[in-house]
C-alpha cells in the first residue's frame, strides 16, 4: 500500500527507533498504539505478531461469549484479525486500538451468528414477571438475597450463572451481552443489530428479567 494513501495519525512518533522498544519483562516488543499502527501499515510481520499476541486473548473471550463454542469463536477471531489488517489504513485513532478491535470482533461474531441463523426470536414470556388482575406484582418474599461474591466464590455456581445466560434466546442474550458485559451503549447496539434503540431497551429489560427468573434459586441461596 502506498504511503501517500495512508491517513495521518496525529500521535505517530517522529523517530523510527521509538517503534521498536523492548518491554521490561522480556523479549517481546512493546509498542504504543500509534507505533503499532504505523508498523502494520508498512506490512511489518513483527508488528503483526505483536498485535495478534497482545489482543487475541480478549478478542477470543468476546467471540466465545457471543458464539459459545471454541471452533466458531476461533474462526471469528481469525476473520476479525484479517479484517483489522485489511482496514488498518482506515484506523483514525479516535478510539484505542483495543476498542477498535473489540468492535470488529463483536461485528464478526454477530455476522457469524446470523450466518448460523441463531439470532432466533423465541419468546421468553414464561420467564417474565407476573402480575394479577389488579396489576399487582406476584413475587414471593425474598428473606435473603445472596451476594455476588458468595455466588461467584464457588466454581459450580459461577458456571451455573454463565450457563443460565446461555439459556436465553439469542436475540435477548446478545443484547444483554453487548450492553451489560461488553458495555456498548444503546445506540451502538441498535446499529449493530439493525433494530431501534427502543427495541434494544425492551430486549435488555426482558433479558435481565428472564435471567433473574432463571437465577432465582442461586440468588435465594438455595443452590449449594
Amino acid at each position: 500500500m502506498g504511503v501517500g494513501c495512508r491517513l495521518r495519525m496525529p500521535n505517530l512518533p517522529r523517530r523510527s527507533e521509538t517503534l521498536f522498544e523492548k518491554d521490561q519483562t522480556g523479549d517481546r516488543d512493546s509498542f504504543d498504539d500509534a507505533a503499532l499502527v504505523e508498523g502494520l501499515r508498512t506490512g511489518s510481520a513483527r508488528h503483526a505478531d505483536h498485535l495478534v499476541r497482545t489482543h487475541i486473548g480478549p478478542m477470543r473471550a468476546v467471540a466465545r461469549r457471543i458464539l459459545g463454542g471454541d471452533a466458531f469463536a476461533d474462526d471469528c477471531v481469525q476473520e476479525a484479525f484479517l479484517k483489522a489488517f485489511r482496514k488498518i489504513d482506515g484506523f483514525e485513532g479516535r478510539s484505542s486500538l483495543k476498542t477498535w478491535l473489540h468492535r470488529i470482533t463483536v461485528n464478526e461474531a454477530l455476522m457469524k451468528l446470523r450466518a448460523l441463523k441463531r439470532l432466533d426470536e423465541r419468546p421468553i414470556d414464561l420467564l417474565m414477571p407476573e402480575f394479577d388482575e389488579n396489576a399487582c406484582r406476584i413475587e414471593a418474599a425474598w428473606p435473603t438475597l445472596a451476594t455476588t461474591e458468595d455466588i461467584l466464590e464457588r466454581e459450580s455456581t459461577r458456571a451455573l450463572v454463565t450457563s443460565k445466560i446461555r439459556e436465553l434466546p439469542d436475540s435477548y442474550r446478545i443484547v444483554l451481552l453487548l450492553r451489560d458485559i461488553e458495555e456498548l451503549d444503546t445506540a451502538e447496539v441498535a446499529k449493530l443489530l439493525d433494530i431501534t434503540q427502543g427495541n434494544v431497551k425492551v430486549r435488555l429489560h426482558r433479558a435481565r428479567s428472564a435471567l433473574k427468573k432463571l437465577l432465582e434459586p442461586v440468588l435465594r441461596g438455595e443452590v449449594e
Binding site: I56, G57, A61, Q78, N134, C136, A141, L145, I181, R208
Partner: protein, 103 residues
Amino acid sequence: MSRAMPSRPLRRIKGMILKRMPLMVTCEEFESFILAYLEDELPRRQRVVFEFHLKICRECRDYLAAYRRTVELGRAAFADPSAAVPDTVPEDLIAAVLDARDA
C-alpha cells in the same frame, strides 16, 4: 424461611389503593419504568413517583433488588481475568491468524 405472598383479597385492596392514590403507579406500570430508572433517564417527577411506589410496595422492592443483583452477577460472572491472558491462547491459533495474513 417464609416466602409467603399477600393473599388475593389483600392484593385486590392494594391494587385499588395504588390505582387511586395520587402520585402513584401500579406494579405493572412500575415495571415499565425500571430500565429508565436504573439508567437515570427518568424525568424528576416520574422518578419521585417511582421511588414512592418503591417505598410502599414490598414486592417491587424485593423484585428490584433481585433484578439489580442479577445484572451485577451477569457482569461479574463474565469478568474472568484468565480470559484476557494471551498466554492461554493456543499457539496454533496465533500461527493460523498470522499465516492467513501472509496468504
